[in-house]
């Protein structure tokens, strides 16, 4: 090469240096600039779409949830369960709009009034308490189960395992599990938890796959399934997010330096002592993040709970009027509170949104319920997502040993 490149003197300013190779406006540079701008535009276009969706739902949903006067929040929307919205006029032309339960009360109080033009709009009245509670319960069951199995798996993968066939298989299985469509998990949950899972019961049902008598009692372990209930839904969801939880827990365990374990072992602690005393406590924030991440994923899923747990309409909240099933229950003897509680179907937010978006006739009276539910649901999920992102960043910054 002809041109010798010299190191620029440190004190020389840019103007005095004439680089013979440096040209300000070449075709290549112009092309580069254009492409950079295009790439930037593509990136911000994605963000603009997201912002548009978010703002649109916010604009239409916020008026349903917030009010201009004290307490500034539409309390009815959060304290009632979905019901039909009745719109009607009475003879003198005044117009009313109320939920079905309120309507029947009103009718009882005003038996004389003749009602004209009565319309019922299903699921458009009341609030979203039932679905919110149902989603919270499903998510809770799911997180407990998934965190238990996921953490144990992560501990095994990170602390105990050594290379081998079993490990390869395990990694492969986890990775494949992550790719299975959610509706297939729904089918699986229906097939396993709803129709085949074991219950302890005195009177096994005929459809049970097989029954095993339990010694010294009159009960049987009957493989007849839990039916459509929140337990089945929670377990199905847990199976679905297992890969996510495992990955997150493993990451949090990996972040803890080997020195902690080695020091502990060198002091004479057993393997388990060193894990439980000098690894797990420090991995705790990471696991918290994992569970919050799990909540965001699970709360929005509709397909797996459609056939395993969800119900479009339910009058009572899960803790009111628990059905006492004489014959089938999960672990305990007949008719106990806990088993009756978890063997109910529940309403769930995503399923409720599906119902109001696609399964009822659309008109202007259904809009507030639709946008209100979507708004609340999205804000809740987004808050959890933000929390998990925030915690993760903080945790990563803090956990530098």
């Amino acid at each position: 090469m002809e041109v010798s490149t010299q190191d620029p003197p440190l004190d020389a300013s840019a103007e005095t240096m004439e680089n013979p190779l440096y040209k300000k406006h070449t075709a290549v540079k112009r092309r580069d600039a254009t492409i950079s701008v295009l790439l930037g535009v593509a990136t911000y276009a994605i963000l603009a779409c997201a912002a548009f969706i978010f703002l649109d739902i916010m604009r239409k949903g916020a008026p349903v949830v917030f009010e201009s006067s004290f307490p500034f929040v539409n309390t009815e929307f959060f304290t009632q369960s979905p019901e039909s919205l009745i719109t009607f006029e009475i003879e003198d032309g005044s117009y009313f709009e109320m939920g079905s339960s309120e309507f029947y009360e009103w009718k009882r109080e005003n038996p004389e009034t003749r009602i004209v033009e009565e319309h019922a709009h299903p699921y458009s009245g009341g609030g979203i308490l039932g679905p919110l509670v149902g989603t919270a319960l499903l998510t809770g069951i799911c997180i407990v189960v998934a965190l238990f199995i996921g953490l144990a798996t992560a501990i095994f993968l990170n602390e105990y395992s050594s290379k081998g066939k079993f490990m390869d298989m395990l990694r492969l299985a986890i990775m494949n599990l992550a790719g299975v469509p959610s509706i297939v998990f729904g089918l699986f949950g229906l097939g396993l938890f709803c129709l085949v899972a074991p219950v302890i019961t005195d009177v096994p049902q005929e459809r049970a796959l097989f029954t095993i008598p339990i010694f010294f009692t009159d009960s049987y372990l009957s493989f007849e399934g839990w039916g459509t209930c929140m337990l089945a839904g929670g377990f199905t969801l847990a199976v679905m997010i297992l890969p996510v939880i495992i990955a997150a827990c493993e990451e949090s365990l990996k972040a803890i330096p080997m020195g902690f374990r080695e020091a502990s072992l060198a002091l004479g602690a057993t393997k388990w002592q060193s894990i439980s005393k000098s690894v797990l406590p420090y991995a705790f924030p990471g696991m918290l993040t994992a569970s919050i991440l799990g909540i965001t994923r699970v709360a929005g899923e509709t397909a797996p709970i459609m056939f395993t747990a969800a119900l479009a309409h339910k009058d009572k909240l899960p803790w009111q009027d628990i059905p006492v099933n004489k014959n089938a229950n999960f672990l305990a003897q007949s008719g106990e509170w806990t088993s009756g509680f978890v063997s109910q179907s529940v309403q769930a937010m995503p399923y409720h949104i599906y119902t109001v978006a696609a399964r009822i006739p659309q008109n202007e009276w259904t809009r507030p319920m639709q946008y209100g539910s979507v708004f609340v649901f999205m804000v809740v999920v987004m808050l959890f997502a933000a929390l998990s992102i925030f915690l993760r960043t903080r945790y990563r910054k803090k956990m530098k040993w």
């Binding site: 290549v28 092309r31 580069d32 790439l39 930037g40 593509a42 990136t43 276009a45 994605i46 963000l47 997201a50 969706i53 649109d56 739902i57 004209v116 199995i149 144990a152 798996t153 095994f156 602390e159 105990y160 395992s161 050594s162 079993f166 395990l170 492969l172 299985a173 494949n176 599990l177 992550a178 790719g179 299975v180 469509p181 959610s182 509706i183 297939v184 729904g186 089918l187 699986f188 097939g191 199976v239 297992l242 890969p243 057993t270 393997k271 965001t296 709360a299 929005g300 509709t302 397909a303 459609m306 056939f307 995503p350 949104i353 599906y354 978006a357 696609a358 999920v381 987004m382 997502a385």
Partner: protein
């Protein structure tokens, strides 16, 4: 829980004897530490067990599906329904041809009265808007007028001479007076309301892209709407009447010009009638046969049910009755040859109908105008499609004639036929009174089309964003964009589907009507919920997956590569596109594959937005096929599984669809992992 731990682990503590080591309690040679290890190992192996269980539960139903389906297909053949189905195919092929010619004809005729039709359409839309806005007053006025009429009717029925009626007459007259007093102010009020409403701009909003009526017709429309505000007006406003009249005349003139076209279409309709009649005639015996065969095949089951019931009851009388019912169940195999004789007899009749039909259709088709011979875009397109449909009609006639000639009811359905009836079957029909078909093709095509659109849109955007964020943006931009895109991944899919139904679908349809976008295939769209709508939403959904994985892959490219390239004098972008991206290409491919897996497995968006029409999209429209509604594999499971009996053929078919989805997801995952492994070798 399985206890498949790892017994040969080299870190087994029992191997080394330390001087100060406590032995502790041991059971079967396993110490406390081993138990803990096995516990964790057992939990870990749950992942494998779950995967195996998924396979098992899907496979169980799926493998039970094929024998059932095979039996079902056999009965379809033995009942002669298959024979009638062949004719049905011919009729359908003809109908496709006929209807596209018909659409072309009407597009041509209506072209001349376009202005008048626009005026009438705008009038109707404005009137509907106004009625909607003033519905309270309007409805009340209508009710009062009705009430008044009723009162007058009642009054005329009553006899003032008789004593009983006198009191009633008094009350009715009172009522009448009240109503008569109330109606005029109401009427005034309505008129005022309508007048105000008419001055609002949004009333005149006919939707984006809808054709505006000519400016000089707007006063007329306004007049006519005001005129309608008198609900008792029997006739329509003269302006509307006149417009209708003109429209009618223009259409008539156009029709006169196109008389030959019309004759051809009428001829087409007439010439197929004998075939249609024959098909309808044969459907009845086929259904009879089906009933007989079903009753034969379920007879043992029914008898067993009665016997079982009899065994269970304690009441002797009831028991006797049940046993009698069990006796009554006849298990008699139908005489297949005899019940199918009617179809064999029809073979010659069909031949005598089909031959002239083909000849006549040829002459009729040749008489149709060519696409160049018509004016409107719709007519041109539809005539083009008619050409395709004519070829298909000929094919269908030829192949079905052969099938009909060679048809035999006792020819057993082969395994290949039965499996391909599912995998490449063109119909998915359930709860039908004729016969239920379980063919995967319509669902698979829908899923595939949606995925293709989603990927074509999503991949460029996500990869561009990944390159931008990873290589070009500042640190501050990065720390804002990355979480933001992660946020997109957290949007629940049902929320996106909801957005697609209520906002995006309508917006897309409006955009499709904009004048300068008409070059896009399939625009303007008639439907709101289409493949395109679902595809675009899924593209948005897939962005976080593809973006994150691509970004990771770019991140993993060793820093030295970039530095070397820059040191050689390459510009930043040259480095990115010639060094970084090619190095990371397998990671990018894996990202795209996993994105595909995410898209094809997505349920709620497609269930809500794809339109749920179970039919193979009509590819004669070319690329415009994307503006049609479709159904998907995931959607069908979500939609139908809740409503079928467990263990039925339909239920098993749905599990089989799930199995196909599962296999696709495994294959995609496998491919992605293979690609990634290659990448790691660098």
């Amino acid at each position: 829980m399985s206890h498949s731990g790892n017994p040969d682990s080299p870190s087994s503590p029992a191997k080394e004897r330390l001087v100060f080591k406590r032995r502790g309690v041991q059971i079967f040679g396993l110490g406390w530490q081993d138990v803990i290890r096995i516990f964790f190992g057992g939990n870990a192996s749950l992942a494998i067990i779950i995967l195996i269980l998924i396979c098992f539960f899907l496979a169980k139903e799926a493998f039970l599906f094929f024998p059932d389906h095979h039996r079902d297909l056999n009965s379809y053949r033995q009942s002669g329904q298959e024979f009638v189905g062949f004719m049905g195919e011919e009729v359908t092929a003809h109908t496709n041809l006929y209807s596209s010619a018909n659409i072309a004809y009407f597009a041509e005729v209506n072209r001349t009265s376009r202005v008048e039709d626009t005026i009438l359409r705008s009038y109707r839309s404005v009137l509907a808007n106004v009625e909607n806005r003033s519905s309270k007053t309007w409805g009340r006025l209508e009710r009062e007028i009705d009430a008044l009429e009723e009162v007058e009717d009642d009054l005329s029925d009553l006899d003032p001479e008789t004593e009983e009626d006198v009191a009633e007459i008094a009350s009715l007259t009172e009522e009448k007076r009240r109503l008569e007093k109330e109606i005029p102010p109401l009427r005034e009020k309505l008129k005022r309301e309508v007048n105000t409403i008419l001055s609002w701009d949004e009333i005149w909003d006919l939707g984006v892209g809808a054709e505006e009526p000519p400016a000089d017709s707007i006063p007329g429309i306004r007049e006519a709407v005001l005129f309608e505000a008198f609900p008792d007006a029997e006739e329509e406003h003269p302006f509307i009447e006149k417009t209708k009249q003109i429209s009618k005349e223009k259409k008539a003139a156009a029709a006169a010009e196109l008389a030959e076209f019309k004759e051809t279409i009428k001829g087409m309709q007439a010439v197929v009638r004998p075939l249609k009649d024959l098909e309808r005639e044969l459907k009845e015996p086929a259904l009879e046969n089906k009933k007989e065969i079903t009753s034969f095949s379920t007879a043992p089951e029914r008898r067993d049910a009665w016997l079982k019931g009899a065994e269970a009851t304690r009441d002797p009388e009831e028991k006797a009755r049940m046993l009698a019912r069990a006796e009554e169940v006849v298990i008699k195999e139908p005489d297949y040859a005899a019940i199918n004789q009617v179809f064999y007899d029809a073979i010659t009749r069909h031949a005598s109908i089909a031959a002239p039909l083909e000849v006549e259709m040829k002459t009729l088709f040749d008489k149709l105008p060519t696409p160049a011979g018509v004016v409107t875009k719709s007519a041109k397109e539809n005539l083009k499609r008619a050409g395709v449909f004519y070829d298909r009609f000929q094919e269908s006639m030829a192949s079905n004639r052969k099938k009909i000639r060679e048809w035999s009811h006792d020819h057993p359905v082969t395994v290949v036929e039965s499996v391909s009836a599912f995998l490449v079957g063109k119909n998915w029909t359930t709860n039908s009174s004729w016969h239920d078909f379980y063919g995967l093709l319509p669902l698979f095509t829908g899923s595939l089309l949606i995925s293709i659109i989603a990927l074509t849109v999503s991949v460029p955007f996500s990869i561009a964003a990944a390159i931008y964020v990873n290589q070009l943006s500042s640190f501050r931009e990065q720390s804002f964009i990355k979480p933001a895109i992660e946020f997109i991944g957290a949007i629940p899919s049902v929320v996106l589907g909801f957005f697609g139904i209520l906002v995006f679908g309508e917006a897309l349809r409006n955009i499709s009507q904009v004048e300068w976008l008409q070059w896009f295939p399939g625009f303007p769209m008639a439907e709101r919920l289409t493949i395109l709508n679902a595809g675009l939403l899924l593209a948005f959904m897939a962005v976080p997956t593809i973006f994150t994985l691509t970004e990771d892959a770019l991140n993993n490219v060793p820093q030295a590569f970039t530095e070397n390239s820059l040191a050689m004098g390459a510009t930043k972008l040259q480095t990115v596109f010639r060094v970084v991206v090619p190095t990371a290409v397998s990671g990018v491919i894996a990202a795209v594959l996993l994105g595909f897996g995410r898209i094809i497995g997505e349920t709620m968006v497609v269930l809500l937005v794809a339109g749920n029409k179970i039919k193979i999209p009509d590819f004669t429209e070319g690329l415009g096929v994307v503006t049609q509604p479709a159904h998907t594999m995931t959607g069908i499971i979500a939609q139908e599984l809740g409503e079928v009996d467990s263990g039925s053929l339909h239920w098993r078919a749905l599990f089989m669809v799930g199995m196909v989805l599962f296999v696709i997801s495994l294959l995609v995952n496998f491919a992605a992992q293979r690609v990634l492994k290659k990448f790691q070798k660098i």
